[in-house]
Subunit: 341 residues, 4 copies
């Protein structure tokens, strides 16, 4: 039996574990004020070509989304997001729990367009009742999206431009950022993100770390007292160095990118193999997530050979499932799966 449910089924990349072993008995102060965090921050800012930026380490994605959104919005503002956005669907109302509305925009394969944002805000400003409505106070996107698709540089530039036109921040959820960056199809770099977004994060949990998300704020001090907002959001790790060590290692010798590249290669092979075996892809997603539509027979077969994530039951009875690869996916497992289905 194989397991392609998600990209966070194992512990952590061996190199991170190695670093934990090496550093375990060293003493350091808490809350991210240690040398490991300092070093990781420096490497990340360098990788982002963002010398004026600021980096904070949080533990998980939902937590990071809620903390950043709480920090960026005023009470009368909400966050624009795709209807399919993680914050709109799968965070148990964590954003609303901070008092803010998620304003849903129509999506295309998980992406929203600059035009849609512009139209929404234009209509809002023109509405006779705008003062009785939730203000669009920021834009949330995810790279890659929940559907495994990626924003092109052009799309990202357009989104950034429209946000700057309306003077609202652009925030990018990068829980799986590595898998976008490692895609051939992706022409967006970390430096582009740091230039075009006001805040974004580089996900660790799903890209080889035990846990951890590195929030990059484009302009230092642009969010006053973000540290305390992290604390009040219950998102401050006491042994903060655990985050520093992980990200320091991930940003040493391109580990973060190597991890992602391996997963992308495995996904590519799996995608090809499934197509050869007559399976139908639900969406064209170039990242490490493969969405397959299974008819009754295929579903039964698949259930016998691997675990997976159920995505959606179509009205015709077919099941959309998600398979995911990671740093830990072995080539032989992929071949075995292709063979078996």
């Amino acid at each position: 039996m194989q397991h392609f449910d998600s990209d966070y089924m194992e512990g952590m990349h061996p190199r991170i574990l190695e670093r934990l072993l090496q550093t375990n008995m060293l003493k350091s102060t808490g809350y991210g004020c240690d040398e490991f965090c300092a070093s990781a921050r420096e490497k990340i800012l360098k990788a982002c070509d963002a010398p004026d930026g600021e980096v904070h380490f949080l533990v998980g994605g939902t937590q990071t989304n809620a903390t950043v959104i709480r920090a960026l919005l005023r009470p009368y503002e909400g966050v624009l997001a795709a209807q399919t956005g993680h914050i709109a669907v799968h965070e148990s109302g964590a954003i609303e729990a901070t008092g803010h509305k998620v304003i849903c925009l129509p999506h295309k394969e998980g992406k929203i367009s600059a035009e849609a944002v512009d139209e929404y805000i234009t209509a809002f400003k023109a509405d006779e009742s705008w003062e009785h409505m939730v203000y669009p106070g920021m834009v949330y996107i995810s790279q890659p999206t929940e559907y495994g698709t990626i924003y092109s540089l052009k799309e990202l530039e357009a989104l950034s431009a429209v946000c700057r036109k309306w003077q609202i921040p652009l925030f990018c959820d990068g829980a799986r950022m590595g898998y976008a960056l490692a895609c051939e199809e992706c022409d967006v770099t970390l430096a582009d993100l740091a230039r075009l977004c006001d805040v974004f994060y580089i996900g660790g949990t799903k890209v080889g770390a035990m846990f951890g998300e590195a929030v990059v704020i484009r302009k230092k001090d642009s969010i006053p007292h973000f540290f305390s907002i992290i604390k009040l959001s219950g998102a401050l790790l006491a042994k903060g160095r655990m985050l520093g060590i992980q990200f320091d290692e991930l940003f040493t010798d391109n580990l973060y990118f190597d991890i992602a590249r391996h997963a992308i290669e495995m996904a590519k092979r799996l995608r090809e193999g499934l197509l050869q075996k007559g399976y139908t892809l639900y969406k064209e997603s170039p990242t490490n997530q493969i969405f397959v539509v299974l008819d009754k027979q295929q579903e039964e077969r698949m259930r016998e050979v691997t675990t997976f994530s159920e995505w959606e039951r179509l009205s015709d009875g077919r099941l959309v499932v998600r398979l995911a690869t990671s740093w830990a996916t072995k080539e032989e497992d992929v071949e075995e799966l292709i063979e078996a289905v």
Copy 2:
């Protein structure tokens, strides 16, 4: 120049003003613990045929919606509502400010169906990720809706049944309740509402009062400490008797119903007149709100003779406007308007 912008453009019905005059110098305790409130409560429960119910008086609609929803939901729950629902669009995020998501359902002329609710909840329960999603914790409807349409008894019974099936409360926003009740087309009574909803309110502000909404809780004590929830929501009126006096008068000799009936008659006449003059109605709404689609020329003409509420600019350039009648609308004003446009 006439004014058909809304149904709350004048002070209050003369009979209410008369009662204020009569009672002004009497002394009473605050916060709704006075004899006027007691009397009004009794009359309302009687009109609702709800001897086991409970009545609370609040000041305005958005306030009432936020207070009731806060009282009914647990932190992990949200409220199901039509995409066009007042709480979803025109309350500046008051519901989200209490920490809860408004889960939008597709609407038909402002109404949601029992089927749509049932499907949503069924899908939620079946979803692999349901524990990561906002739970549908209650259903919000408005009678009449924001589009001036009304739920039939059959529709309401179906909604009530589906809520009971899933054991979640049904809450009805009745900011303009009177205008539904007074419609020929409406086969729903206050007693039906009290039987089928868990909580609903009878709007005063838009039906002849200065202000005030009477919340009817079907089963006494089913919302523990609702008084304190009103207080913490900033919705407790110090001189609570002002609410009692108004509702006591509104529920004396059918005043509430007479007010609504007059407005409905005026609206009917206006609707007929406009149709005769070649105007196009945007929606079939039987209540006191008339939605008219104006072409360029009609818009100019209309602007010369009356003020109105702008509803929506259609893509073909035509403007949808809302005209509203009330207790204070004079027959001669209606005729004059018809004549003039």
Copy 3:
């Protein structure tokens, strides 16, 4: 049986009622955008000598406190207040419901001192753990206080100076403002408040109006989108003109001040009379609230002749009660009460 429970036991001052009569059938737009509100705003700004200020009308005190505090604070900030402050004790947690802590300072007869504020903030800034603590983000005072005492001009200037030193706003709850202004002992004027506070309000509910609080923001536009914050707080009155009419009348020919002066005179007479009859005052409060300590026998006697508000049961068994006068208190009632006890 007499009633000295509070200063909001009757309807409204006859002159306000008269204005309601006169204006009842006029039509106006909602939400405070009418001519009555405009006129009232102008008069209030003039009375405050605050041409650069901004006025908003809300319905009640708790609501106003929560709305203003929500508007002024960032998520990591709390509000400094006297332990006895209304927001700290008697608002059912309305402030916490907006997500903010009320940081309690020791009080002296309901007042906090500039020194106490300065010491608190100094200690906060010096604390090794300040980033893990709630930031003092504003100061809340009430004039007169919950104990009926009043801040002197010197005290207010010192509080204002310390707030400006630390760059946090000073907010004054003026639910009973008139009674402070009308006291001989009070050397603070509306113009002083408008100069020294960043936001304060002039209470109507307890000074002759049916309801209503006029919020004065010292510097126009210093709170962005306060209108929408009022809306999302459920504090926006649809028939906003009801607030405009009342405040317009209260600020015509000094009505607001005359109402207060009458109450103060009645309170003075009552205080003298009670002292002559051997009663003990609990606190020296010069305003319209009289705090009396009653032994067993006095308590019984008092209960026979008037209703009152119970304040506190002392450990020696004596009861502190509050008697309050208002615009509606008749001289003969006061004499009768003094006679009877």
Copy 4:
């Protein structure tokens, strides 16, 4: 230079690290639904003699406090706590951010008494204005307290009894629980806590784990949908097994207790050594935290030889500092420190 700042300065206990190594490549599902969590839950419930209980794993203390308190309270309720309680002082307002007030009670060395709780609630119920006040909805204590003191079984039984009398839950913050349990002076066991509290947690972060707090709910399902409340609080770890592995190891062969016992022994030795060297203890705390009062000269000396945590600057200029021991404290370090100061 030595480091006695806190008990979370190193990585994790070597046995936990060893388990991470062994299990790293195993695959498991996320969010705490894995076999490691299952095993850890079983061991913890056994150690607590709580077969009807329920265990959840969260990441950090502030997060756990906010999540549990949010889950237990209704909107009109607050949490009773010592003035010195962590939730009252050092969580950046995380509790208020969930909408609830922390109601402070006077403390004695960080502890509150059953009498104080009883008196508070009795007074609340007797207060004429109780419906305008925040309801005491639960009691929060910490074992050991923020001052390193411990509740005796008798004290805990009394607190539990008073909570049951008033039908409110008792919640115990056990961020440093191990250090209480390991004290000779402590007659409270995990089974006592599970019997007397409604919810409590066993801290990992400060007792040898990398991170993690194990929440024990006395009665299964008594908090509906706690999983989703964890999620919406941003407290759900994707790779939940990391928590399971750590707690499984901590509750294997008494590791948790051994870790604590070692720290207590080291603290005892350090305490004795400091007393011998003429130092003054600020408080009698039997746990792993040592509070020392330093005069100018002692402060200088101490700064030369070790880092520590500044607690409070006394008015006479002396500094109270906290030294903490842990599983990682070596006997030689303690001796060296005693020697050096």
